[in-house]
Structures are given as structure tokens and as C-alpha cells.
């Protein structure tokens, strides 16, 4: 696993730490950084590595398990589940919606209008496509 997956955990953010950790793992799974069948770091290792409360890591793993992204095997640890294409697709869409939600929140805080956003999105996507 790529050690940078958790680099940008931000304790000052209003997004709870366990959600941030779970999101990093979702992204790593969606991009293939964490392949199906691969083991997640142990709670002990991750808590100590990124210096968060072990309970926070446990909570993140539990959420991922409930969402069907990972499975825990008694005594062996937590592993990325094999996701079929429909599930992967659903997961990508979920991530996309979350990104947009964050964008909208930040835009509102900065006083950016909807029209500004739509225009910016058009411009940026064109730049990327060209």
C-alpha cells in the first residue's frame, strides 16, 4: 500500500477524522492503490503512524465494513473486498457527489455564485480535455 494515502488527514477540519480516514481508503480502493484482497494496516499500526486515537481507526474500518468496501476476518485483520463493476461504479458516483458537495459548501462560504461555478467548471473541463 502507498504510505501517502493518509498524508492529508486534517484534524482541524470539521469533517470527523474517521470519515476522512474512511474516505482515503475508499479513494485508494477506487483507484486500485489498495487492490481487492489486500490487507488494510492494523489498527495499532495506523493509529500510531498517523497519530490518531485507535478508536477513530476502528470507527473508520467499521463504517467501511458496513458499506461493504472491506471485510474483517476474525483474527486475521481487515481486507479490501472484491467489488464487482456495478459496485465500483456506484462507489465512484458516491465519491463524485461528495466532491461536489464539498465544492458547493466551500463556494457558499466564499460567496461564489452558482453561475460562477458552472462557468469555472466548463472552463476547467475544457482545459483538461484539450
Amino acid at each position: 500500500m502507498n504510505g501517502d494515502v493518509f498524508r492529508q488527514i486534517d484534524p482541524r477540519s470539521s469533517i470527523p477524522l474517521y470519515v476522512q480516514i474512511a474516505d482515503r481508503i475508499r479513494i485508494a480502493v477506487a483507484t486500485g492503490d489498495m487492490p481487492p484482497g489486500g490487507a488494510l494496516p492494523s489498527v495499532r499500526h495506523l493509529a500510531s503512524q498517523i497519530r490518531v486515537n485507535p478508536a477513530t481507526v476502528v470507527q473508520a474500518y467499521r463504517e467501511l465494513e458496513e458499506a461493504g468496501v472491506v471485510e474483517s476476518r476474525q483474527g486475521a485483520g481487515t481486507f479490501v473486498r472484491e467489488l464487482g463493476e456495478p459496485k465500483r461504479e456506484a462507489e465512484r458516483q458516491r465519491l463524485a457527489r461528495r466532491l461536489v458537495r464539498q465544492l458547493l459548501q466551500e463556494a457558499a462560504a466564499l460567496g461564489v455564485t452558482r453561475e460562477d461555478l458552472e462557468e469555472a467548471l466548463r472552463v476547467e473541463m475544457k482545459v483538461k480535455l484539450a
Partner: protein
């Protein structure tokens, strides 16, 4: 729910100017409890009361289910304590210091101590008088963790340490916490540091407990709200107003106990909410102290 530390109606006085009043702490078993407060707010005094080193003028204290000070020896056998200014004999080598400390604790885990010593990169044969401040900070943490205590009481354990050492020391602490169900009571004025590791927060100011909450509620509940048309007189609010400021046509309120449906309350008084901003722990902490010192009328 059982508590690793519980005080009731605790009071203490030192001289004319400092007192601890009505202190009711409840530290849940297994939690990592951040004890925050500015310098001089009484954090160290509280810790000394908890560990039987000072005598309260009133109130009761129980630690690990036992009475303070009657059962102090049994409490301390299961408690790892790093005081504000720890004392170790400077002429001992690191190895001797570990053995000396181990002699006081039945369950001292020599193998674990060795493992941490290697992780920390501490030299066995070095005299303590020759260790750097950072190395001493690591050693203090090593000694209390290797006790495998049920309760850790850490008084500003990373104060004065550089960021790299702080990181190593906290990693070791969290590694220990994930191995079992120990309770950690950690005092600090370094708010950021506590933000990522604690699940409970207690804020002390001027000898009084201002608030005691799960970290997440603390962080979620305190908001800065930008308003227009807000009333100048505050009647009954569904939240606690910590701070109010007016700049031009706009008002900024800092409130505690906020939940989104409460925006309706503002409509009811003819104000409109322009923005609700989350505060991080440090900002929340500062606003909380400001208001506890000068309550909003």
C-alpha cells in the same frame, strides 16, 4: 458507565488568589481525555489532587474505582504518571534508570521497554546527564508505557519538545493505547496536538471546569454565525451565545450547542443567517475562554 477518574464537588485553595471550585470530572474508562486550559488555570494542581499529592479542602476523588487518598498505593501501582517536571537521577545510565523504575512496578514489561528504546533510538549506556531534552522526553514516556498501566496521567508530556520528538512520543503513546483499554488523562495547552488523539475534552479556566464533552460534540457544537438583522437584545436562545460582534450591517455570533434546525430561531426574530462556520478546537477553545471570563449579557 464506569469512570477511571471521578471527582465530586472538589475544592482546593492555594494562597489568597488561587482556588479550585466545584470540580466534577468524569473521565470514562478507555478514553483519551484531553485536559485543556491556559497556563495557570490549575491543570497541574488538579492532577496533584487526583494523585493524592495535595489535600483538598472539600470533595471526593476516586481513581480506578478506588478512593483517594486512602488507597493511593494500589492506585499508583496501576498508574503511569509523567509529572510536569519529572525527576530521574542524572548519574544513572539509561539502562540503570530503566531497571530502577522497573523495580517499583510488578508488571513492568522489560521486552516492551527494549522495543521502544530501539524505536526511539536511545543509547543504553549513556548517562542521563548527557541525554538531550528530546531523549529525556522519550525516556519518560518509555518508562510509564512499559509499566503497562491501566491509567496514564500525563502532565504536558510534550511541552518544550521539538515537533519530531513530539511525533515519536505520541506515536508510542497511541501504539500502547491500541493494545488494550488503558485510559489516558493528558493535560496540555498545545491544543492542536490533542485535537487528533483525544475523544474527550475538559476545559479548565481559573480553577473551574468550563466544559466537559466528547471531542466530536465540542467541535461540532461551536459555530461562528454571520447574520444580518440580528436583535441587539438576546432573550431565550436554543443555543448558548458565547460572543457577539457587530461590523457594519453584519453581526457575528459565536454559539455553542448549535444544530442546523436552529436557523429557524433567527428567522423568528427577524434575522437572516448568511453563513455558519465551523471552528476548529483551538478557535473553539479560545471563544469558550473569552466567554467564560466575560459572559455575554
Amino acid at each position: 458507565m464506569s469512570y477511571a477518574i471521578e471527582t465530586f464537588d472538589l475544592a482546593y485553595r492555594a494562597g489568597k488568589h488561587f482556588e479550585i471550585r466545584d470540580l466534577a470530572l468524569k473521565v470514562r474508562e478507555g478514553s483519551i481525555y484531553g485536559f485543556l486550559g491556559p497556563n495557570g488555570s490549575g491543570k497541574t494542581t488538579t492532577i496533584r489532587l487526583l494523585l493524592g499529592m495535595l489535600k483538598p479542602v472539600r470533595g471526593t476523588i476516586s481513581v480506578l474505582g478506588r478512593k483517594v487518598p486512602d488507597e493511593m498505593a494500589r492506585i499508583m501501582a496501576q498508574t503511569g504518571y509523567v509529572p510536569e517536571r519529572p525527576h530521574l537521577y542524572p548519574y544513572l545510565t539509561l539502562e540503570q534508570a530503566v531497571r530502577y523504575h522497573a523495580a517499583f512496578y510488578e508488571g513492568f514489561d522489560m521486552a516492551y521497554a527494549g522495543e521502544m528504546r530501539r524505536t526511539f533510538g536511545l543509547p543504553l549506556d549513556q548517562k542521563l546527564s548527557h541525554l538531550s531534552k528530546g531523549e529525556m522526553g522519550k525516556l519518560h514516556m518509555l518508562l510509564v508505557l512499559a509499566q503497562r498501566p491501566k491509567l496514564l496521567v500525563l502532565d504536558e508530556p510534550t511541552d518544550g519538545l521539538d515537533p519530531v520528538v513530539r511525533r515519536d512520543v505520541l506515536s508510542a503513546l497511541l501504539d500502547f493505547c491500541s493494545q488494550g483499554s488503558a485510559t489516558v488523562f493528558i493535560s496540555s495547552h498545545l491544543v492542536h496536538e490533542l485535537e487528533r488523539i483525544c475523544d474527550w475534552v475538559g476545559v479548565l479556566d481559573n480553577g473551574r471546569l468550563v466544559v466537559e464533552l466528547p471531542m466530536q460534540s465540542f467541535k461540532n457544537g461551536i459555530k461562528r454565525i454571520r447574520l444580518s438583522g440580528a436583535p441587539s437584545l438576546v432573550g431565550d436562545t436554543p443555543f448558548v451565545v458565547l460572543q457577539r460582534e457587530t461590523t457594519g450591517a453584519e453581526q457575528v455570533w459565536v454559539v455553542r450547542g448549535w444544530q442546523p434546525p436552529m436557523a429557524q430561531w433567527f428567522q423568528g426574530v427577524g434575522a437572516s443567517v448568511r453563513e455558519v462556520v465551523d471552528l476548529d478546537l483551538e478557535e473553539g477553545f479560545v471563544e469558550l475562554l473569552r466567554s467564560s471570563r466575560a459572559p455575554v449579557s
